[in-house]
Symmetry: C2
Subunit: 387 residues, 2 copies
């Protein structure tokens, strides 16, 4: 397998983009990535598009070809991949495998979701199709409900508090204030989170990531060709993906995602690193409890101590292991198919030293962690600044 | 890149399977493929699932993980890929690339669609999301309508007749009678096709492929390990994929699919063969006109002569280049996400000499051609019997 590098990244503003269509969003992100890579669009060989549910959100499947066409890239192969909210991460992984295989050189991994053009009930219904319809959704489960079960169990097993969960939101909203593309530029306090309207207790409104429109792109190249385009190519040294039951009740534990631990194991092994080598990470904080579980499952702290290390500031910018410097799903927004690619954009910008006021000093190795549903799919990538 | 071989295939009965659920279908196809490959399921490393629109058909996205779980394969990576009716072919291509890359050895490519559990109007609406919603569907285009435009133009440019199109249906229904998994075991005559109810003229009911439930699986392995499992491994020597505008009106020609010609060019080049080397092919006959265009675009006859060579029996079993020996989408049925994998199953069975009454004598090289929408995506694979 060939080594793979990122040579360009691009991202749209995340938010309620009522004046921008699905196809306009991807062009915006793609054009920025092409400009960033200083590559001619004609050199691009293939594209993967992470997109969860355009069939339900905008009544449009076949978005791989749609996007290739609208970007002026036909006849290159363009393939949509889907794994619920992990769709972006899966698109990145397919692009990595494709470049590594040698079949194509310059491959785009794009992620996109247009979620706010439908009523919120329709959006919630579409998102619920990431859970097990027959065994969960038909009997009334919602995503906040599933994550609330995990939160309650985490509180019971480890003494995690609602205040500690709230601190995830406080930190990520703080980070988002320094991210121009974030949906929210609005600080929140622990009290504000605790007093926000209940969604599914113990999760309140400000424990939940929002409904968001947005798109992001990265352009990959074989590492040996990367420096022609970019003085600071970022290598993708590890990729890992794993599956689990998409129904929560089928799993032995409610406080750990097996898909995350298995995907991380594979990615760490391929990259030849461990959690202690990681300088910063973007993790899948669809709910505040999810970030606590993620940093435990990824090995950044012991199981059950996610709340404690968050409270002690270890995951803040300047702390031991900064988490979600972009603002995360919570503060930056969560256009589900775009999220995995947006995480990659943040890690690349950090490792290049281009993250502005949210820069982690001296970051050399970063990790992105993207989850589908309540943990049926997880995908982990390890990034390293090229020498 | 490593050479890739098929070591096992499995398929369900195609049809209106009201007594079998989505997850039951894939288990049936998968178990048969595992039995055929004589492999232990624990050896499988990864899975790709071709599935067009489960979100709309059964209100379930995230079907990669769902299927891995239900098949007892977690925690292996399992990824859904979508390119409308080419979803199965795209899943096969991703599996080929993944094995070729060296990241995984034993990879399942599955295809599935459950289409008959909804009202036919809902099914037609879901299928229409493969076309361009903003530019085609909202103004009234349907798939039969789009293909009818192609048929009219083909008749105008080349003198193709409705009788010649009908002969595609006659041949494919005849072939389907010898295929135990086919939806229809029912011969039709040219008169029956011509007198069947109009759908969008010149296309009548019997020019159109049906709505179908079904699933299919193939198991791939590195060629050097394939013979441990199977005395007759079938090599996949070429894979090609291309994109085009998903809206028909954006293209310079209505009588040729650029995605097909480009995908074929790539697949032929990789395999080191040309159309004259192909002994039989499964092509994407979603409508009878589509088969005529496909055999022209794939180079099996000159442009415009698809009707003529069909009329002269060149595409029948025993003819110069047998097309759709399985019965094709027309006779075997068209569960959209499964079709690309089902085509691969047929080619493998033919090259092994296991196709029973529909066997093409001495077949050594076969081709599968899978199209998404009205030609926004096409994917072509070349298969060769191992020595």
């Amino acid at each position: 397998m060939r080594d793979v590098a990122v040579i360009g990244v691009g991202i749209t503003k995340f938010g309620e983009l009522w004046d921008v269509s699905f196809r306009e969003m991807i062009i915006e992100a793609g054009a920025r990535a092409i400009e960033d890579a200083k590559i001619d669009g004609k050199q691009l060989d293939a594209m993967y598009v992470g997109n969860m549910s355009s069939g339900q959100f905008i009544r449009q499947e076949h978005t791989g070809a749609l996007i290739a066409d609208h970007a002026g890239l036909v006849p290159i192969p363009s393939t949509r991949v889907e794994g619920a909210c992990a769709s972006g991460g899966l698109a990145l992984r397919q692009a990595v495998i494709t470049v590594a295989s040698g079949i194509h050189d310059f491959v785009v991994a794009a992620g996109i979701e247009k979620m706010t053009d439908v009523l919120s009930g329709v959006a919630m219904g579409a998102l619920a199709t990431a859970a097990d319809q027959e065994w969960e959704v038909y009997v009334g489960a919602t995503f906040p409900g599933l994550y609330a079960l995990m939160a309650r169990r985490h509180m019971y097993e480890f003494g995690t508090t609602e205040e500690q969960m709230a601190m995830v939101a406080v930190k990520n909203h703080q980070n988002a204030c320094f991210n121009p593309c974030a949906q929210y530029h609005m600080k929140v306090t622990v009290d504000a989170v605790l007093n926000s309207p209940p969604v599914t207790l113990p999760l309140k409104l400000l424990d939940c990531s929002p409904i968001t429109d947005g798109a992001a792109c990265v352009i990959l190249a074989p590492a040996e060709k990367a420096r022609k385009f970019n003085d600071t190519p970022i290598l993708i040294t590890g990729t890992g993906q794993a599956s689990d039951s998409i129904s929560l009740h089928s799993r032995p534990s409610l406080t750990s995602l097996r898909a995350t631990t298995e995907a991380a194991k594979a990615a760490y092994k391929m990259a030849g690193v461990g959690p202690d080598d990681i300088d910063l990470a973007e993790v899948h904080d669809c709910f505040t409890i999810a970030e606590l579980m993620a940093i435990e499952d990824l090995g950044f702290c012991k199981k059950g101590e996610g709340g404690k290390v968050t409270q002690e500031g270890e995951t803040a910018i300047g702390g031991r292991i900064p988490i979600n410097t972009s603002g995360g799903l919570k503060g930056k927004g969560h256009p589900v198919g775009a999220t995995g690619i947006a995480q990659a954009v943040e890690i690349v910008q950090q490792l290049r030293g281009e993250a502005g006021k949210r820069q982690v000093d001296g970051a050399e190795i970063g990790l992105a962690h993207n989850v589908g549903g309540s943990g049926g799919t997880a995908v982990v990538h390890v990034f390293k600044r090229g020498d």
